[in-house]
Amino acid sequence: MTSATLRHTVWILRGNPVTAIAAAGAFILCLLAIIGPWIVPFDPIASDVPNALQPPSAKYWAGTDQLGRDVFSRLIVAARLDLAIAASAVTLSFALGAVVGALCGYTGGRLDRYVGRFVDVLMAFPLFVLAMAMVAALGNRVENIVIATAIINLPFYIRFARAEVNVRRNAGWVEAARASGDSHVSVVLRFLLPNVLPAMAVQVSLNLGWAILNAAGLSFIGLGVSAPTPEWGIMVAEGARFISTGKWWLVAFPGLALMLTVLCFNLLGDGLRDILDPRMRT
């Protein structure tokens, strides 16, 4: 990041407190994901059945669950897994989608048509059902949830990268690179990709939240991460069963955590878009 970009970023953040707050929130989240297990007041896994279903109190800030586990501690510890799921799913589809999409967008022709067909097939799928089917088929382990989420995200990244590269494929600097002795592949990888990555980074941060929600949805229908691992989606899904009996804290706090996280990433994505959008640089 050059100093000019840095200055620009600072300017954007100053004019845009929402983005600044979102960035701070995302930073805190990442921090919690790293140090979470060492700062929580209770063991997030250890049960304490006599103290089950306690409402929030000074001791249990967010109450306790069915097994008497401290909801607050579980929330904090879950940050790591949730962020990991979201980040790895998005990274996977991002990496694959960017390269494939960029190649398609640059070369056009047969590869583009074939990949386009494949993307059409994927897009024509009801995505959530596809994710469900894949998790059901592969087994509901964390890595499979990640893979399923990545695959259903893939078409968007491919299309996005394809479109972004496509508008640049005839740019002067691309032809100049060819004239400077670069092969097509090297033009795509060393010239076009670095140029479309920032725009895609916006997509990434918007998608991070979506990936977390997707995992939560899978948990709700029983295809999520297995107990007793704390994970927001499954906590919300479990807590949802207690809404009717007024045990609100079981759904409210994980829901809030989920909400704040997704909110952070979404607002950050919006902000990133502003930072990276050259038209904003008046």
């Binding site: 049960s47 097994l67 295809l223 297995s226 007793p228 069963r241 009717s244 009996t245």
Partner: protein, 535 residues
Amino acid sequence: MTIVRTACLAVALLASTALPALTQTRAETLRHVTGAAINTLDPNIPGSTREAFGLSLLTYDRLLSFGKKQLDGKWVFDLDNFKPELAESYTVSPDGLKITFKLRQDAKFHDGTPVTADDVKWSLDRAVTANVLGKGQLLTGSLTSADQFKVVDAHTFEVTLPKPDKLALANLAVVYPVIFNSKLAKSKATAEDPWALAWLKENTAGSGAYIIESFKPGETTILRRNPDWNRGSAEKPASFKRIITQTIPEAATRANLVEKGDADIVIDLQATDAADLEKKGKLKVISTPQYNSITFVSFNNQTPPFDKLEVRKAIAYALPYDDMFKAALFGRGAPLYGANWTEGKAPTGAVFPIPQPLKTDLVEAKKLLTAAGFPEGFSTTFSFNVGQAGTAEPMAALLKESLAKIGIKVEIQKLPDAQMSTLINEKKVPFFTEGIVAWLPSMDYFYRNFYIGPIRWNYSSLDDAKITEWAQAARFEPDMAKYAALGKDLNTRHFELMPQIPLWQPSQDAVMASSIDGYVYQFHRQIDFRDLSRK
């Protein structure tokens, strides 16, 4: 700006439509909500759901039905006591090999045709001959061939048995041997489908207390009372004019509905909702331990390390029973642990399951595990299916935590229902929780169906010569004292071998409007709406 204004108008319009629906006077209608779905009208079709079985009890009659008895103050079905349905009376010959039924003269099918012995013959022939579910069930009562059924005259019917079988009559009272309108059914039969399976799947040809008014699989079934039906106890039609069964997948919503009075009865609530509603006291909550069921933690006894008795026992002593019972079921059920047996012998043999003398004892568990050659413990997986996650998930978490204390590392596997049943059928799950239910909960029936042979329901893959021998002997043992003695040996042996760890019998929480009367816990864990009335 027009758009904003239009949007405001639209929102206002939408909001105004969300007014409270008018409460209708519907005392004569019973609205039942359930999480599952009815999928066929003929309970014999392979793949029929429990709700389909429940429905068939209303649309069809059988020769007999179970009587009722009180168990701890709750009405439950009685395996040994029958009341006539289409049969007016029945006699069993002294050698127990011939049962003669006298049919009611006044019974008519829904289309007005009188019910005759020919219809009974055709229906029972179908149940033991066609590719239907009844076949497998009826053989547990020695009913296997059409030759055993004989029409004596229009209203007399005879069943012959190869051996005196205690469960023969009971088998005629379950859901499969329903009596079809044979004339109607035969008219719909084809050469490929002589038993009219396809037609009966979507149509009824019965004489039951209710007639299908509308049937939307997976959504709603509406039943209209059959005014001519008089097989109930009071010689009059069923009490409710209409019965609506609706599928509401979300359990919390079902609880809301019944609490708000929009639904009249529901039997598949989450334990937490049932407990909550009971505490509020507005509704009638009848909580009956399912005395014909067991929820257990099972091992595959053929798979190491669970082929070692000490390992199984070690785990049995390591489970946190009380916590599991409280966390998973909120204490709603009958525990099958914590009994006191003298000298390690089962106190009774006439019934199964009975509580076993198990308690949490980590020291003992560790000792047993060391004896088994696993002083450092081992790693394994513990599986349950998604459908049971509500209770199994907290249970599994506690189990994992507790077993970790004796060095056993457990990875929890939550499997989609179909996958779990497939794996169990292939005997590929080493360590898991499941539940079993016997429609005919006699002691030998349990042992024969769940602990013998390479069949799917033998969850523990137990293969013990003594249990096999004693269970087969008990089946045809006419002397109840000897039967009880065999049962005592079986129960004791079962505990000693520890093929599974029985945990509890969960309660069926029937939650209903306080005006509803006459609820009886039934063998198939569905409601027999013919019993119900509104005060």
